[in-house]
């Protein structure tokens, strides 16, 4: 048996009613309802958090670190995703949010937007190298990278092999802090302020995403901190001095932000998993081979649409746009020295490994037999895709049956037909007796 993967997204058994809401909204069909409650299939779940959004009973939860966890370290640095700035309407300066983070207990702060600046430069340098497949695909959204590993493994060589902004930011933040304060790296906890469970999973299990270890010590949900930060952000008056990220780095919070920073001339940006799947199908069909760069975001609107954000994603996008508008027009190319990308680690440690959905059977002959059986079963099913059987669609149900995870009697429509014919037989029998 394979070892279980870590997932930030989990089920709260006590709250789950066994309805079929999450079942039918999961973009990778990773949920099944059995014995009156949902189960998440370990190998198919990409931690996108769609189920967290749709569950009316709040039975789908994201595990993240809580604020008191930071006390485990002598010093702590907060690394807010730029998305955090979009949570505060009318925010004029990111510094207000950074100062507010210090007010709630962090010793220092480092903008992940600065990491995004450095990564922008690193990707642009990487893209100069010859023989790259087209388009190159962004590696910043871990849910999308996992989606490619599971559903489009043959596209993995398109994924740019540069670390995520939060990782680069954490490495720089810790090094700078230690230099300034003369302390040991292990005394410094770096906590990402996250918009999503996918980033949490990436921090806890970095190996599947090509990193031996994460630079981050943990991740705290934006949702958890929003209420604590708000009064401090409101109170801020003067603009404190700090070295800000560029408008491009901050722009990574919204869809097309990365693409327009990295490769404005010939890039495309897609957001929302069903859309991402459609565009990746096009890449698979070789229909986008003239495109240079493809940005993929699991969440609608980009990270501002993350499941752990407080503000509506359209409002947050607007707030980011207004914030960025008043920042100077400086591109990371002139802001990030090349020595920076040579000094810190930019490349992934190991290639991204495929993690494809298992074939119906290890032996191809047997797999074909199962596929034939699957077709026969589908032909018998009503095609309502109602989810009452506990599988997300009639086709998925047929697949579950041939894989040995379900039985035809789980379909209430088949069951009803059987009962009706049984009842008819009994009636016949009763009548023959009376005659």
């Amino acid at each position: 048996m394979e070892e279980r993967r870590y997932h930030s997204v989990r089920l709260d058994k006590d709250r789950c009613k066994g309805c079929t809401n999450c079942l039918r909204h999961c973009p990778t069909e990773a949920i099944r309802v059995r014995d009156g409650r949902a189960h998440i299939l370990d190998n198919l779940c990409i931690d996108c958090g769609e189920c967290i959004r749709v569950c009316e009973y709040h039975a789908k939860v994201a595990f993240t670190d809580s604020l008191p966890n930071i006390k485990a370290y002598k010093y702590t640095i907060a690394l807010p995703a730029p998305t955090l700035y979009g949570q505060f309407r009318g925010l004029r300066n990111p510094a207000y949010v950074l100062e507010a983070l210090k007010c709630i207990g962090f010793d220092d702060v480092f903008e992940v937007a600065r990491g995004a600046d450095v990564v922008t430069r690193a990707i642009r340098e990487r893209m100069r190298e010859p023989n790259l497949p087209k388009p190159m695909i962004s590696s910043a959204c871990p849910a999308c990278v996992r989606l490619i590993q599971v559903r489009f493994p043959e596209l993995l060589d398109h994924v740019v092999d540069i670390r995520q902004p939060m990782e680069v930011a954490a490495e720089i933040a810790r090094a700078e802090f230690c230099r300034k304060h003369g302390c040991e790296p292990e005394d410094v906890g770096c906590f990402f302020i996250t918009p999503c469970p996918a980033k949490m999973t990436a921090i806890r299990t970095p190996q599947p995403l090509g990193q031996e270890k994460s630079e981050l010590s943990g991740a705290i949900s934006m949702m958890e901190l929003y209420g604590l930060l708000l009064p401090h952000v409101m109170k801020m008056q003067s603009d404190p001095n700090f070295v800000p990220a560029t408008r491009y780095g901050v722009g990574w919070a919204t869809s097309n932000g990365e693409a327009s920073a990295v490769f404005p001339d010939n890039s495309l940006s897609v957001d929302g998993i069903p859309n991402v799947i459609r565009v990746l199908e096009e890449v698979e069909n070789n229909k986008l081979n003239e495109l240079t760069y493809l940005e993929c975001n699991a969440c609608v609107g980009g990270c501002v649409g993350g499941p752990l954000t407080f503000e509506n994603n359209y409002v947050a996008k607007h707030a980011i746009r207004n914030l960025v508008k008043q920042m100077p027009e400086i591109h990371p190319d002139s802001n990030v020295p090349i020595s920076m990308i040579n000094k810190y680690k930019m490349r992934l440690d190991t290639p991204l490994e495929p993690n494809p959905v298992a074939a119906l059977d290890e032996s191809m002959t047997e797999a074909m037999r199962k596929m034939k059986r699957m077709n026969e079963i589908v032909a018998r099913l009503p095609g309502y895709d109602c989810g009452s059987c506990g599988s997300p669609s009639c086709a998925a149900f047929a697949e579950d049956i041939v894989r040995g995870y379900s039985t035809e009697m789980q379909c209430i429509h088949i069951m009803r037909d059987r009962l009706q014919s049984l009842a008819a037989e009994m009636l016949d029998l009763a009548q023959t007796r009376r005659e």
């Binding site: 043959e154 698979e284 069909n285 070789n286 959905v357 074939a359 059977d361 002959t365 074909m368 596929m371």
Partner: protein, 141 residues
Amino acid sequence: MEELFSTTYPVAQADYVTAGKASADIKRRLKQLGVGGDVLRRVAVASYEVELNLVIHSLGGELTLTVFPDAVQLVSADVGPGIRDLAMAMREGYSTANEEARSLGFGAGMGLPNMKRNADEFDIQSEYGKGTTITMRFRLS
């Protein structure tokens, strides 16, 4: 060699709404059978091109996927109109796609050349006034 699995998709002329559905299903099935990597990518490209040619250029036809223990086979057979100048049609950049197809981004004239390049075996038979049949095989290593 013994045939293990076969399925046929009807493809209608000028049906842009469902265009691409057959090749998407072919990809999905091959993945379920454990076909991946390079072969899958090549089948993906060729099946999409051949399906779209049925939509754009033919009067309708069908696409058949057959899986053998050692190869994947795609056969596209249509009911007309056939190709007038086959040598010309096989050239890169040659296309007779109409305005409608071009406005949707088709008609680069790379479909047939790409099918030939991606398949391990490629055969095209066409008779003007009758129809076109294309057979492609992809070896499973």
